[in-house]
C-alpha cells in the first residue's frame, strides 16, 4: 500500500514536472516567420524584398522543380525548374522544395524509387551549386499529397533521400495535409525530420456552392486535431493567396491565380451576382484564358481577420515548440493584402502564451 502510494505520488510529481517544463517551453517558444516561393523565376522585386525585410522573413521555401511522369515514357521527369537569381540576401535561409505528383509513386518500382531519390538530390545540389547565390541548404522539403496506396513507395523514397542528407547534416521535411495530420494511423508518419502542416485548400473546390475552398472557419473546425500529439515536429503554413475559380456549365474548368474583383469590374463583360460571384456576360479573354458568355466565376481569397480567426483555432492545438510560420506564397499581388501590420498580428497571436 505504501509503495503504491509512493508510485502514485511519483506519477503526480512526474506529471507536474512535465507540465511545468511544457509551460516553460511555451513561454520561450519562438514563431519564426517564413514564406513560400512557388513560381518558376525566383527574383524578388523591390516590393517583395521590402516585405521580406520588414517582416523579418529569414526563411524562404523555394520550389526548385516539380517531378511528374513523362507523358511518353511514363518515367519520373523534372519539370518547371526554377530560375535562380545571381544574388540573394545572405542572412536568409533558403529551403529548396520539390513537388512530386502522387502518381509518380503509383507507377515506379523499388529500384526506380532509389534512383529517383538520388536524382532529385543530385539535381537540387547542382542547382544550388550552379546558382552561386544560394547558401548550402540546412533543410530541404518534399511536397507530395501521398495516399494509402502510394505511402509505401513515397516513404521509401523519403528514407532513401534522407540517407543522402543525414551525412551532410541536412534536415528533411515534408508537407503534411490536414487529413494526414488528423489520421496518422491511416496515412502513416513519413520518415523525415519535420513536417509542414498546410492549413489551406480545405473546402470542396469543384462545388459551385462552396464559399471559399482555400480557407473557411467551418471546414477548418472539421479538420482540426491535436497537432501536439503528431509524432513529428510541425511547422505551419497559412495561405495568403487568392484565385478565381472558373465554372462552365456548372463544372469546374480552371483556377485563375491572383484574380481580384477589380479585373471583373467591366460590366460589359461581367455581372456581379453575389459577393465574390460573377457571370461572364460577353465572351472575353481574362488573365490569358478565354471565357465564354455564361461562365461563372467565384473569387476566393484570404483576409487578415479570417486568418486570425482560424489561427486562433489552431494555436492551442500546436506543440509548445518553436516553429516556422510560413505564408503561401510570395507574390507582389498577394503580399499587398498582407502588409507588415497583418503579419505582425498573426505572429503575435502565436507568440502570446
Amino acid at each position: 500500500m505504501r509503495s503504491g502510494g509512493a508510485l502514485l505520488a511519483g506519477s503526480v510529481m512526474c506529471l507536474w514536472l512535465c507540465a511545468a517544463a511544457c509551460y516553460r517551453d511555451h513561454s520561450t517558444a519562438a514563431v519564426l516567420p517564413a514564406v513560400y516561393h512557388w513560381k518558376t523565376v525566383f527574383s524578388p522585386d523591390s516590393t517583395e524584398q521590402v516585405w521580406l525585410r520588414e517582416n523579418e522573413m529569414r526563411r524562404v521555401y523555394v520550389k526548385f522543380f516539380d517531378v511528374d511522369l513523362d507523358a511518353r515514357e511514363d518515367l519520373p521527369t523534372p519539370r518547371a525548374s526554377v530560375v535562380l537569381p545571381a544574388q540573394l540576401s545572405p542572412d536568409t535561409d533558403y529551403v529548396p522544395c520539390v513537388f512530386i505528383t502522387n502518381r509518380v509513386f503509383s507507377r515506379i518500382g523499388e529500384t526506380e524509387i532509389d534512383e529517383l531519390a538520388t536524382r532529385v538530390w543530385d539535381k537540387m545540389l547542382r542547382m544550388v551549386e550552379q546558382s552561386g547565390a544560394l547558401p548550402f541548404p540546412r533543410e530541404i522539403q518534399i511536397d507530395c499529397d501521398w495516399t494509402g496506396s502510394t505511402r509505401e513507395a513515397y516513404f521509401r523514397f523519403l528514407a532513401q533521400l534522407r540517407k543522402n542528407l543525414t551525412t551532410r547534416n541536412i534536415q528533411l521535411s515534408v508537407t503534411i495535409r490536414l487529413h494526414q495530420a488528423k489520421f496518422p494511423e491511416e496515412t502513416g508518419i513519413p520518415p523525415v525530420d519535420r513536417g509542414m502542416l498546410m492549413f489551406y485548400n480545405i473546402g470542396n473546390l469543384s462545388d459551385l456552392t462552396t464559399s471559399n475552398s482555400i480557407l473557411n472557419r467551418s471546414a477548418a473546425e472539421q479538420y482540426l486535431s491535436d497537432y501536439s500529439n503528431y509524432p513529428l515536429p510541425l511547422d505551419l503554413a497559412l495561405p495568403i493567396f487568392r484565385w478565381g475559380v472558373l465554372f462552365r456549365d456548372e463544372k469546374l474548368i480552371r483556377l485563375i491565380n491572383n484574380l481580384e474583383a477589380a479585373a471583373l469590374s467591366d460590366t460589359t463583360f461581367f455581372r456581379k451576382d453575389a459577393p465574390h460571384r460573377y457571370t461572364v456576360q460577353k465572351s472575353t479573354y481574362l488573365e490569358g484564358y478565354y471565357l465564354y458568355s455564361g461562365d461563372q466565376l467565384r473569387l476566393e481569397g484570404i483576409r487578415t481577420d479570417l486568418l486570425l480567426d482560424v489561427a486562433a483555432l489552431i494555436k492551442p492545438r500546436l506543440a509548445p515548440d518553436s516553429f516556422h510560420l510560413a505564408f503561401y506564397h510570395l507574390d507582389p499581388e498577394t503580399i499587398k493584402d498582407f502588409p507588415h501590420d497583418s503579419i505582425q498580428l498573426l505572429l503575435q497571436l502565436f507568440e502570446t502564451p
Binding site: D70, P78, I253, G294
Partner: protein, 760 residues
C-alpha cells in the same frame, strides 16, 4: 501545393479501363467487396457513327477525345520521321525503299556516310558491298550526289544539339559548337546547286539558332536564307515556319507566332499537334490582331477552329463564328458531331460513378444545363440546315433530328429523320439516319403486346443492331421498364440477368412471374429466351427449387414443401443430396460426410423436418432429443453448416467478416441488382436448442444443446454488426447448471474458448 490538374487524361482513362478489365478477370464472379460496381463500365447510349467525319480533317483523329491531344501527341511516335523519309523517297524518284532511306538518313554510322562520300569523290574508292546493298546509298553513289551526302553528314553533326535530352541532364548546351555549325552551314548553303538541298540546310541552320535560344538570329537567318531558295513545296516549309513562329513567341510576339501556327496547323499533318499546343492568344486585343493578320475568312475561321478545340471550349459559340465567316468550312461538321457527342453523354448517359442497376430502375435526370445547350444547338442547326450553305446538308438534317430526339421532341424528330432519309446518297449517313430512327422507335414504345414482342425479337438480327451496338441496351432497358410497369418483374429481371443472378438472392415476386411465364400457352420469342432451354424444356423446376429453398431459408417449411411438390417426385434427386441431421460439434463447411451417412434430397429433408417437429410435439419422451436434432439440422442448413446448399445456391467465405462490420446479410453484387444473401439467421436453430435444453431430462443432452446454443449466440453477435455487448448466457448455464456432466469435461478439453470462460 495547389491542385492544378483537374482533367483526367485519355491515357489514365485507358489504364483505368485496363485495370478494370484485369480486376474482372481476377475477382470472383459475383463478390467484389468494396468496389462492387467497378466492373460495369456502362456510361450510356451512343448512336453517332464518327466515321461520318472526313478523316482527313486536321482534328478528325481526335474527335472522340480531343481533350487529350497533348497527351496523344507526346505518346505517339514522332510523325516527322516517316513524312521526312517519304519526301526523300519522292524527291529521288522512289529509287529506294523507305527502310533504306531511313537507315541512311537516321541510323547509318558517320563512317559509312564518309565511306559513301569517298566513293562519290573517287570512283576508285568504291564503297563496300554492305553499304551498296542499301538502294539509297547506291543511288547516291551512282548519281554522284555529293551535295546530298555532304548534307547528310552536316545533319548528323547537328543532331546531338537538337535531339531531345534526358530531362535530368542539366549540362548546358554547347552554344559555341552550335554557332560554328550555323556558320559552316551558311557557308555551304551559298555554294549549293540544288535548291532542295538548300532548303534542308536552311532547316538545319534555322533550327539550331532556335534551339540555341537566339531568337533574333533565327529570324535573321529565316529572312536571309529563305528568299534564296526556289524549291517545290516541301514538308520542310512548315517545319521551318514552325521555328520562325517559335522564335517570334520567344521574343514575345505571340500574335504573329500564333498566326503562323494556325497556318502550320492547316498545312502540316506532321506538325499539327505541336502547332495547336503552341498557339497562344491571351487577350481580346491579341485575338483581334491575329484575325487582322489573316488573309481571308477561311484563315479567320481557322483561328476559331483552333480555339474550339480547347479542352472545355463552348463549341456552339465557335461554330457560330466559323459559320458566319466560312459556312462551307468542313470543320463545322466535325465540331457539330463533337458537340452532339458531348450532349449524348449528358442526355443519354448515366454518370460513370453511378451503377447500371440503379440506372435501370430509375434513369438519372439529366442536368438542366445540358437540355438548354441542346435547345440552343438545335436552333443553330436548324438555321444551318435550311440556309443551304454547309458542306454536308444531310449531316445537318440528321443532327437536327437527333437533337429533337435528345430534347424529347419525338414527333418532330421522326419527321426530320424521315425527311433526311429521303435523299441521302452517302451510305454511311443513310445508315446513321436509320440507326437514329431505330433508336427513336425504341424510345417511342409505350405498351407491349405479344405481337410487338415478336416483331422486336426480329430486330436483334437487324444489321443496325450490329452497326449501333447501343441499340440493344437501349431496347432492353426500355423493355425492362415496360415489363416492370405492367407487373412483370420476372421478365424485367430476365431481360438483363441470368437465372443464376436470381439464385443469389431470390425475389419471390420475380420467381412467381417467371413460373407464370413458364405456364403460359404461347410464348413469344423473347419470353422463350427467358424461360426455355435449348432442349425445349422450361426452367420451371429450377424456379420451384429456387422458391422452395428461399421459403425454407425463411423458415416456412410447409410452404416450401408444397412448392417442392410441384416438381415430379422422379426429379427430386436432380437438386442435390444432403444430410443436415449429422451432428458436428466442430463446424466444418467443407469436410465431406462419411460414406456411411444416408443422404436426402431437398424434398425428403423438408418432409423429415415437418415430421420430426410433429413427433417432437406429440411424444414428450422424444421431444428433447428431436428438438436437439432439429436444431442441428437448421444450424447445418444455415450459412454456418455443411448442408448450407439446402437453402442457398452460393456461399462466400468472406461474408462473415464483412457482416461483422455491416450488420446485414445481403451484400451488393456487381452484376445483379438484388445482391446476394447469406443465411445467417439462426433463430430457428437456437429456438430448438432452447426447447431441447428445457425439456431434456438427461443433463448430458441439455449440456450439448446449451453448447450448440452458445455457438448460435456467438454467430448472432458477429453477424449483427456487434451492435451490443457479447453475451455468454449458454456458457454460463453450462458452467453453473451442467458443470458436472461428462460433456462439460469434454468441451473444457476440446474448446479453448469455453475452457477460458469456465476457468476465469
Amino acid at each position: 501545393m495547389i491542385p492544378s490538374n483537374f482533367s483526367s487524361s485519355f491515357s489514365r482513362h485507358l489504364r483505368f479501363s485496363l485495370l478494370v478489365s484485369l480486376l474482372l478477370l481476377v475477382l470472383p464472379l459475383r463478390h467484389v467487396n468494396g468496389c462492387i460496381f467497378l466492373g460495369d463500365e456502362f456510361e450510356g447510349y451512343s448512336f453517332l457513327d464518327i466515321s461520318l467525319i472526313d478523316d482527313k480533317l486536321p482534328f478528325a483523329p481526335y474527335l472522340v477525345s480531343f481533350a487529350s491531344i497533348a497527351n496523344a501527341y507526346y505518346r505517339k511516335a514522332d510523325l516527322r520521321r516517316p513524312s521526312n523519309v517519304e519526301e526523300w523517297s519522292e524527291r529521288h524518284c522512289r529509287k529506294a525503299s523507305t527502310d533504306d532511306i531511313a537507315y541512311l538518313v537516321y541510323h547509318a554510322p558517320v563512317r559509312q556516310l564518309q565511306e559513301l562520300k569517298r566513293g562519290v569523290l573517287s570512283k576508285k574508292d568504291k564503297p563496300g558491298f554492305t553499304l551498296l546493298q542499301n538502294a539509297f546509298a547506291r543511288f547516291i553513289y551512282e548519281e554522284q550526289c555529293l551535295e546530298t551526302i555532304d548534307y547528310l553528314l552536316f545533319a548528323r553533326a547537328c543532331q546531338p544539339h537538337v535531339v531531345e535530352r534526358d530531362f535530368w541532364d542539366d549540362t548546358p548546351k554547347d552554344i559555341p559548337a552550335m554557332q560554328e555549325l550555323i556558320n559552316q552551314g551558311k557557308a555551304l548553303f551559298l555554294r549549293l546547286e540544288s535548291h532542295y538541298i538548300r532548303l534542308r540546310y536552311a532547316y538545319q541552320i534555322i533550327r539550331l539558332a532556335h534551339y540555341m535560344g537566339d531568337y533574333q538570329q533565327t529570324l535573321e537567318l529565316y529572312d536571309y536564307l529563305m528568299p534564296k531558295i526556289d524549291a517545290d513545296p516541301s514538308i520542310l516549309d512548315s517545319w521551318i515556319l514552325g521555328h520562325k513562329a517559335g522564335a517570334l513567341m520567344g521574343l514575345g510576339q505571340n500574335v504573329e507566332a500564333s498566326y503562323l501556327y494556325s497556318l502550320i496547323f492547316e498545312d502540316s499533318p506532321s506538325r499539327r499537334e505541336s502547332a495547336w499546343l503552341s498557339f497562344r492568344i491571351t487577350t481580346d486585343e491579341e485575338w483581334e490582331a491575329c484575325l487582322a493578320l489573316c488573309l481571308n475568312d477561311r484563315q479567320r475561321a481557322g483561328l476559331h477552329v483552333l480555339r474550339a478545340h480547347g479542352t472545355d471550349s463552348r463549341l456552339l459559340e465557335e461554330m457560330q463564328h466559323i459559320y458566319d465567316l466560312d459556312p462551307g468550312n468542313p470543320n463545322l461538321e466535325l465540331l457539330l458531331v463533337r458537340e452532339l457527342q458531348r450532349l449524348e453523354k449528358e442526355l443519354m448517359s448515366v454518370s460513370p460513378k453511378s451503377d447500371r442497376h440503379i440506372h435501370r430502375q430509375s434513369p438519372p435526370k439529366p442536368r438542366d444545363i445540358a437540355g438548354k445547350r441542346a435547345v440552343e444547338l438545335l436552333a443553330f442547326v436548324k438555321n444551318c440546315s435550311t440556309a443551304g450553305k454547309v458542306t454536308q446538308p444531310g449531316l445537318w438534317q440528321m443532327a437536327q433530328g437527333y437533337l429533337e430526339m435528345l430534347t424529347g421532341d419525338f414527333y418532330f424528330a421522326a419527321r426530320t429523320l424521315e425527311a433526311a432519309s429521303g435523299d441521302l446518297s452517302d451510305p454511311k449517313l443513310r445508315q446513321q439516319v436509320q440507326g437514329l430512327q431505330k433508336a427513336l422507335e425504341i424510345q417511342q414504345i409505350s405498351t407491349l403486346s405479344d405481337s410487338l414482342e415478336r416483331e422486336i425479337a426480329g430486330w436483334y438480327n437487324d444489321e443496325l443492331f450490329e452497326a449501333f451496338p447501343d441499340l440493344e441496351p437501349l431496347l432492353e432497358d426500355k423493355l425492362a421498364r415496360l415489363y416492370r410497369e405492367s407487373g412483370h418483374p420476372g421478365k424485367a429481371f430476365r431481360i438483363h440477368y441470368p437465372l443464376r443472378a436470381l439464385k443469389w438472392n431470390p425475389d419471390l415476386a420475380i420467381v412467381e412471374d417467371l413460373i407464370a411465364l413458364c405456364n403460359k400457352d404461347r410464348l413469344t420469342p423473347l419470353e422463350k429466351k427467358m424461360v426455355v432451354r435449348d432442349d425445349g424444356s422450361t426452367i420451371i423446376n429450377d424456379l420451384y427449387d429456387l422458391k422452395a429453398s428461399a421459403l425454407l431459408a425463411r423458415g416456412q417449411v410447409e410452404a416450401a414443401r408444397e412448392t417442392w411438390k410441384n416438381i415430379e417426385r422422379s426429379r427430386w434427386d436432380d437438386y442435390g443430396a444432403f444430410n443436415p441431421f449429422v451432428e458436428r460439434l466442430k463446424p466444418c463447411i467443407d469436410c465431406p460426410l462419411p460414406d456411411s451417412v444416408t443422404t436426402f434430397n431437398k424434398g425428403e429433408i423438408m418432409e423429415r423436418l415437418i415430421r420430426m417437429e410433429y413427433d417432437a410435439k406429440a411424444d414428450p419422451e422424444q421431444s428433447a432429443s428431436l428438438f436437439y436434432k432439429l436444431g442441428i439440422a437448421w444450424l447445418n442448413m444455415s450459412y454456418f453448416g455443411h448442408a448450407w446448399e439446402v437453402m442457398d445456391f452460393d456461399r462466400n467465405g468472406g461474408s462473415l467478416d464483412w457482416a461483422s462490420t455491416r450488420g446485414s446479410n445481403i451484400f451488393p453484387a456487381y452484376n445483379s441488382p438484388l445482391g446476394y444473401i447469406e443465411n445467417f439467421d439462426l433463430s430457428k436453430a437456437q429456438d430448438f436448442f432452447n426447447r431441447s435444453m428445457k425439456l431434456a431430462k438427461n443433463p448430458e443432452l441439455a449440456a450439448r444443446a446449451a453448447f450448440m446454443g452458445a455457438f448460435c449466440e456467438q454467430q448472432v453477435f458477429y453477424t449483427s454488426g456487434k451492435k451490443y455487448p457479447m453475451t455468454y448466457n449458454y456458457f454460463e448455464k453450462i458452467k453453473t447448471e451442467y458443470r458436472n456432466t461428462d460433456f462439460c469435461d469434454y468441451i473444457i478439453e476440446e474448446c479453448k474458448y469455453f475452457s477460458y470462460y469456465f476457468n476465469r
